[in-house]
Amino acid sequence: MKNTPQAWERLAAAARGVPDEREAHAPFGFSTRVAALAMAERPIGSLIERFALRAMILACGLAIAAVAANYSSIRSLFVQEQTQAPDDPVAEMADLAS
């Protein structure tokens, strides 16, 4: 048996001589299918941007709606705080000092 490089080189040389007679042009419909698939796909970055913007608009809307729906409760809390202020021990101490 001859050494490996020679045997491999002979086999590779013979393999190189085999002509490739297969069709090199795209099969019918291939390019249309690939182009349609590619154009249907949106880049991930733009998808994130699109959804992030929508999510932000939705979150802002919900926040405004929540404030509007609970406006009376929020307002009464502020009013309560103002009326309770004289009961505040610190405020009372301040009044005594003056």
Binding site: A14, D20, A24, E41
Partner: protein
Amino acid sequence: MSDDQSFDLVGCLARVRGRDQVAACQLVEHLYPMVIRIVRAHLPRRVPEEDLAQDIFLKMFTRLDQYQGAVPFSHWVSRIALTTCIDQLRAQKRRPEFRWADLSENETRVLDSATSDDSAVSPDDALAASELVHRLLDQLKPDDQMVIRMLDLEQKSIAEISSLTGWNQSVVKVRAFRARRKLQKLFAELREREGS
């Protein structure tokens, strides 16, 4: 790639970036011959070439925004094609075992002749030799396979392989050396089986 010099690649790319489907279709038609040549040269067994070509084109369209024009577009696409092929080869974890019993009569004769005498393989046996070469290459690691295919079958230089794969030239040389050593081992095993 087609030899059509009139193809307006720059204009076509601009239209594809604007999501023009007709332009995308033309780009695929233009690049298909180059891509399919790479796929056929490195195609893992049992993977339909059309599926792999489709994966390559879809990757190309997805990454189109990353193409800055630093290298020719065909070069950029061929690198995507090569890396897709190598990923497929890596995904095939089990490599088919090389068994003497699986060889056809022609392949056995060609292997016998290649390893026992100095004469070149006859042109009539070229097809069997080609099949044999691919069987032997299947035994190598994917990266080594790719290097040996490009070196010995496509007769590319180390610099060309380095440029196409993005691997350092020393890495290419090491892979070629490792692949040849593995082939040497395979031939030695065959010699043992032949002797027994």
